[in-house]
Amino acid sequence: MSERERRDEVLDEALSALLDGELDEAAEAELRRRLASEPELAARLEALRGVDTILRETPEPGVPADLLARVRAEAEAPAPRVGVRPRAPRRARRLAIAGALAASAAAALLALSLLPGLRPRPEAPAPPAQAQAPAAPLDLEGASEEEILLAMDLEALEELELIEHLDLLERLDALDASGQG
C-alpha cells in the first residue's frame, strides 16, 4: 500500500467513525472543517452514509406466530433426566464402545482379506492387540444419545489406535480401486 493509499484509508476510517459518532471532539471538528472545503471528501461521506441508509431500510421479517410459544415450551421444559438406568463408569463405557468398534473394524478387515485380490500388503500395520480382544457386547439399538456420541468420539478411537485400522481400510480401498493386491 502506497503512502497516499494509507492516508486515504485512515481518512476513510475517520469518515466511518464520524457516521457512528465515534470521533472525539477535536478529530470531529477537524474532519468537519475539511468536509466543508473538500467536495470529494464530502461525496465520499455521503456514499458511506448511503450504505447505512439502505441497510436500515431492510424490512423486519415477520415473526412466526408460534415462536413465542416455542420459546416458552423449550425454556419451561424440565431438564432431561439423567441416570435413568445404572451406568458403568465413563472410561469402562468408552472402552466397551470402542471395543465394539474395534471388533467391527476387525470383522471388516477379515471379510476384506477373504476377497480375492484384496489381501493387505506385508508392510500394512498389524491390528493392535486391543482390536483382537473379544469385544464387550453392545446393544446399539438401546444405546443412549450419549453412548452414540461417545462411539463417535475421536479420542476413544485414538486410545485404542483404531486410526491404524482406518488407515488400513483406506489402503485396501485404494488397492481395490487400482486393481492391485
Binding site: S16, E22, L68, E76
Partner: protein
C-alpha cells in the same frame, strides 16, 4: 426510554411476571430475527437461533442484574450464537429470506411496511445485500450492530469479544466494501 422499559420488564419477569417476558419478546423479536437473518443468511436457521436467544433470556431471569443495557446483553447472545452457527461444519445451504415471506406466520402488530416500501428497499438494497453476504462474518456483524442497531464501538467490542480499535477497522472495511459494491452496480 426504551432501555429503562426493557430493564423494568426484565426485572418484573425475574420477580414472576410472565407477561413481562412476552412484552420483551414483542419488543425485540423482529429486530433480533432480522439481524440473525442477515448474519446466517438462512431464514430457518435464523428462526431457530432467535428461539435460542429468547430461551436463554428466559432461563437467565433469576440471575439477571441490570448492570448493562438489556439490549447489549440480548445482542451479545445473538451474536455469539450466530458466529457459532456460521462456524458449524456442514451447515445448511443458505437461502434468501426475502423470498420466503409467505408462510412465515404473523407479523407483530404495528410493524407492517407498505408493499411499496418493501419493493423499493429490495430494489435499492439488492446490491448491498448481496455484498453484505460476502463480507467476513465479523465485519458483517460489526457493521450491522453499529450502523443499523446504533451500538457504540464499545458495545460491539463487547459483543464480538474484541477491542474498540478492531471494531473501528471492521466497520470501516465493511462499509467501504459495500460502497464499492454499489459503485460497481451503478457502473
Amino acid at each position: 426510554m426504551r432501555e429503562d422499559e426493557d430493564v423494568r420488564l426484565m426485572l418484573a419477569f425475574r420477580d414472576g411476571d410472565g407477561a413481562a417476558f412476552d412484552r420483551l419478546f414483542e419488543r425485540w423479536a423482529a429486530r433480533v430475527l432480522r439481524y440473525l437473518e442477515r448474519m446466517v443468511r438462512d431464514a430457518g436457521a435464523a428462526e431457530e437461533l432467535a428461539q435460542e436467544v429468547f430461551v436463554r433470556v428466559f432461563r437467565a431471569r433469576e440471575s439477571y442484574r441490570p448492570e448493562a443495557r438489556f439490549s447489549t446483553w440480548l445482542y451479545t447472545i445473538a451474536t455469539r450464537l450466530a458466529l457459532n452457527e456460521l462456524r458449524r461444519p456442514h451447515r445448511r445451504r443458505p437461502h434468501d429470506s426475502a423470498d420466503d415471506e409467505e408462510g412465515r406466520g404473523l407479523r407483530l402488530a404495528g410493524e407492517l411496511p407498505s408493499a411499496e416500501s418493501v419493493a423499493a428497499a429490495r430494489e435499492r438494497g439488492d446490491a448491498v445485500d448481496a455484498a453484505l453476504a460476502t463480507l467476513p462474518e465479523r465485519q458483517r456483524s460489526a457493521l450491522w450492530l453499529a450502523a443499523v442497531e446504533g451500538r457504540s464501538y464499545a458495545e460491539v467490542a463487547e459483543m464480538l469479544d474484541t477491542s474498540q480499535k478492531s471494531v473501528k477497522a471492521l466497520v470501516h472495511r465493511a462499509r467501504s466494501a459495500l460502497v464499492r459494491a454499489l459503485e460497481e452496480e451503478a457502473a
